[in-house]
């Protein structure tokens, strides 16, 4: 295997943090692969995004074209195919994000490359890649040993790898102005849409009382609201609760909702999928209440209560009043 190619992610003129985590993974793997890390930035003005990448990748391939302003896999794919043919990487890494989930399977499918997604650990040995993943809602860990291949495509779970220091390596850049893109299909980016206006800003709360699917139904949400009132706290939720409309979308914590850092995060009936954890794991103190002692939420919580939330909620209210 030779070298690691990282595909940078950016949106609305800003490099996305997850790119740096991918570089952390890439630099860790580089010694095992015997070659260097090259980062591909596809953008209208890739130079403007290069700052945070300096010192964190050996090579920087800045590929410029106006049609690369917003992400579009049909524009990315032909450009990447050329870049891959030139660099011949053994491993192609990108975040397991809305972009990576669009791009990675398309790239792997089109080039006939093996694909492993949502990895939390990667090792490379004897010509084959081994990937660590989490399955069954994070309750089971999976180790996949792939068959030997000359090139693999992997996406990385947010938060699983650390961004490298800014002076980890020397970076040499190369600018390439693309004249023509040749998309296979006419997918067209129209516009970005900002999320709906919110009733409250959960990110501003000192204490969050957060409910998951375990709350059971809309009729039980007031139980959490009463506790929140007694604490001067705000009610937030996991995605399924917002999906079915038991609470507004603006209350959702997680990758596709809000990132919060309250002093206290009380998680009630939330299993702790990584998309949820990503939005709350940096809270000051996390207290989780769950019936299931094996719920993944207990891995990020500071304090855990294995209990039925319907017994815990009234009890907490009593204790506060008393």
């Amino acid at each position: 295997m030779s070298g690691v190619l990282v595909i940078a992610e950016h949106r609305q003129g800003e490099l996305r943090e997850a790119t740096l985590e991918a570089l952390g993974a890439a630099l860790e793997l580089a010694p095992q692969t015997g070659r260097q890390v090259v980062t591909a930035v596809l953008a209208d003005d890739p130079q403007a995004l290069a700052g945070p990448l300096m010192g964190r990748t050996h090579g920087l391939r800045l590929m410029a074209h106006p049609d690369l302003t917003a992400f579009n896999p049909e524009m990315y794919l032909p450009v990447l195919e050329d870049a891959i043919a030139a660099a011949e990487p053994g491993l192609i890494l990108m975040p397991h994000s809305s972009q990576g989930m669009d791009l990675a399977p398309a790239l792997a499918g089109r080039l006939g490359l093996p694909l492993v997604t949502d990895c939390i650990g990667l090792t490379y040995q004897d010509g084959a890649l081994t990937a660590q993943r989490q399955v069954y809602g994070g309750k089971v860990s999976e180790t996949l040993v792939l068959k030997p291949a000359s090139m693999y495509v992997c996406t990385l779970q947010g938060g699983a790898f650390e961004a490298p220091e800014t002076s980890a390596v020397d970076t040499a850049g190369e600018e390439i102005t693309l004249t023509e893109l040749s998309p296979a299909h006419a997918r067209r980016f129209v516009e970005y849409v900002a999320g709906a206006l919110e009733d409250v800003d959960i990110a501003a709360a000192d204490i969050l009382v957060s409910v998951g699917r375990g709350i059971g139904g809309p009729e039980n949400v007031p139980l959490a609201e009463e506790l929140a009132d007694a604490l001067g706290a705000t009610v937030s939720c996991s995605r399924p609760v917002a999906d079915v409309g038991w609470l507004p979308k603006s209350r959702q914590v997680g990758t596709s909702g809000k990132t919060v850092r309250p002093k206290v995060y009380l998680a009630l009936g939330i299993s702790g999928a990584f998309q949820h954890q990503a939005g709350m794991k940096n809270s000051g103190t996390i207290i989780a209440v769950n019936k299931d002692p094996r719920a993944p939420i207990f891995a990020v919580a500071h304090y855990g209560l294995v209990a039925d939330l319907f017994e815990v909620l009234p009890k907490l209210k009593d204790k506060l009043a008393g």
């Binding site: 996305r16 996949l144 304090y303 009890k315």
Partner: protein, 261 residues
Amino acid sequence: MDILVLVKNVPEVAEADLEIEDNQIDLEDLVMGINEWDNYAVEEAVRLAEASGGGVTVMTLGDEEAEDVLRRGLAMGAGRAMHLCDEEFEGSDPATLARAFAAAIGDESYDLILCGVQSSDLGQASTGVLLAQVLNLPFATMAIGIETGEAEITVTRELEANTSERVVLPLPALVTVQSGINQPRYVSIMGIRKVRKMTIGLFEADDLGLDEDQVGEEASQVAGRALALPEVGEGAEMLNGSLDEICGRAVEIIREKGGLS
């Protein structure tokens, strides 16, 4: 608009006590059901077909029990169901599954193929987009809205941090559906009973013209797989005692750390 939806039968694990045997989770005592994301996809397909005139086909790959998710799809309004059922498929990876689905689609022409963003069991989020590659179709993942137009659709894709984007795809196309795109209809036992006589097309690997080495472990990119249960109790300090005691302690912690005392 003729729409194909891929659905998967998965175990409900959130509250279950999982056990691992031979590197598989023991499904014996687990309740199976339609993958959450696929349920939204079926609902979306039925709505789009109702609005535009057209039919919905549901297709799954799985053991005999997986027929339940097809019946459920029929009860929700699909008119046709296809079941890829063969032990030969065991151990297939997403790329292999995509080729099997493509073979089953053959030269049938759908205007739109819908899949869930991911399945809740393995969470690979790959099969849909890989199928689009085999079929050479334009695609978009993570749809929280689909509007139909003249020979094209506009898909609202959910991105991170409460932002979305709108993209236009020419038809035919493949879209993966994110949870929350709609409110799926309730499926009653009566509803399932009503469709029990509808025939479901059954396909083995052979029927799809797939050889042994094109399906299952042999065709898969995975050489070995190991499953393990993480240690219990790594991470949080678990509060022990009676309900009264642990709640008392929890209130103390909230007061102290939340700056209330």
